[in-house]
């Protein structure tokens, strides 16, 4: 595939996802994964899991996985294209809606839209978790790490970075 074709594919894919990514990139991981691994073959399942992990470990908002997918597909130009495409549509929408929003502050339909989108978004985030668990957990030890980190983050207020750090350390020492 020519570089310009790849950039176009990245721009179209992420611009479309931008407008359905309620709650951010975590809700559209299955679709990013499907396009990057199954449709375009930019990377393997394992590489996707690694890039997602790097994005999680970096500071900043959760769309960074799209930056890395773009980078893997087409280098620096790909990273910038994917980032811009992932951000621009939703940012423009937010900009315009915010101006109109105050007018409809206490209306019924506004609450219904928010209340109706929430459970669908949660289902998508569970799907993301499913895709990532399948990509990352090659054996029972890794599955145990996933379960432990999920448990710690769900039940405690500990900074999630401790989980990532501990798991990376376990990996370096050869236990995984």
């Amino acid at each position: 595939m020519k570089t310009s074709d790849t950039l176009l594919a990245l721009a179209l894919q992420f611009a479309g996802l931008s407008l359905v990514a309620f709650g951010g990139a975590n809700a559209v991981i299955p679709e990013i994964h499907r396009q990057a691994v199954d449709v375009h073959h930019w990377m393997t399942d394992r590489e996707f899991a690694a890039l997602f992990a790097i994005a999680q470990a970096a500071p900043g908002p959760n769309f960074l996985v799209s930056t890395l997918v773009g980078w893997k597909a087409a280098g620096l130009a790909g990273a910038l294209t994917a980032t811009a495409a992932m951000c621009a549509p939703s940012c423009l929408l937010t900009y315009w809606v915010a101006k109109a929003w105050d007018r409809y502050r206490e209306t019924e339909w506004r609450a219904a839209v928010g209340g109706g989108l929430a459970p669908v978004t949660v289902g998508f985030v569970f799907s993301s978790a499913f895709v990532l668990v399948r990509a990352a957990d090659a054996d029972w030890r890794l599955a145990l790490v996933t379960a432990a980190s999920a448990g710690v983050v769900f039940f405690t207020k500990l900074n999630p970075l401790w989980c990532l750090g501990a798991a990376a350390l376990l990996g370096v020492t050869g236990l995984l």
């Binding site: 996802l17 359905v20 219904a112 928010g114 209340g115 499913f130 432990a148 980190s149 769900f154 798991a167």
Partner: protein, 186 residues
């Protein structure tokens, strides 16, 4: 201490939010915007957050757009967004470059295996945390849509935008019906 929310001040504030927020920027955003800069009240913050949550895109990115726009128009939005996004994008590209250079080294590969497994766990926990209040407050209209979205995307592998287009109208209708029923009861 309050400082006027000029584009430059917005850029600096959101840059510092981005760099302090590992794994969850919102607590840092609240501290910066409400407590330290005094650009919004706690109520403003919650109200703005609910707006940002009902729009697509990461909440904190939307927040930068809204806060910037209210303070200084589109220039404010642009400055706040650039502050929030610029440094993290550069950092993650540098990490990606390190990965492609050293990803083949056995120790790096094993560290990433562990990191990937733990990161997957974070998303499991995020999903559970998001589901909990919905399942507590309105289980009968939340659970079927959580389940339907999960089965359609995870088990059947359907493209997510279509699933959203199919489920959202029904789910919004259900939320509408539920609110009216709640109100009639009180």
């Amino acid at each position: 201490m309050t400082e006027r929310a000029t584009p430059a001040a917005l850029f600096a504030a959101f840059l510092s939010i981005a760099l302090s927020g590992f794994g969850g920027v919102l607590p840092f955003a609240r501290r910066m915007l409400v407590d330290r800069r005094g650009w919004m009240t706690a109520d403003d913050f919650n109200e703005t957050l609910s707006l940002c949550q009902s729009l697509p895109g990461p909440n904190i990115v939307n927040m930068s757009i809204v806060v910037g726009s209210r303070a200084a128009g589109w220039r404010g939005s642009l400055a706040a967004f650039a502050g929030l996004v610029g440094a993290p994008v550069l950092i993650v590209i540098a990490l990606g470059a390190l990965y492609s250079r050293f990803g083949g080294v056995a120790q790096a590969r094993h560290a990433l295996l562990g990191l990937g497994a733990a990161a997957a766990g974070l998303v499991v926990a995020t999903a559970a945390r998001m589901a909990e209040p919905l399942l507590r407050s309105r289980p009968i209209i939340a659970a079927p849509f959580i389940a339907a979205a999960f089965v359609a995307v995870a088990a059947l592998g359907l493209p997510l935008p279509y699933v959203l287009l199919a489920l959202a109208p029904i789910s919004i209708g259900a939320a509408w019906w539920w609110r009216r029923r709640q109100r009639r009861r009180t």
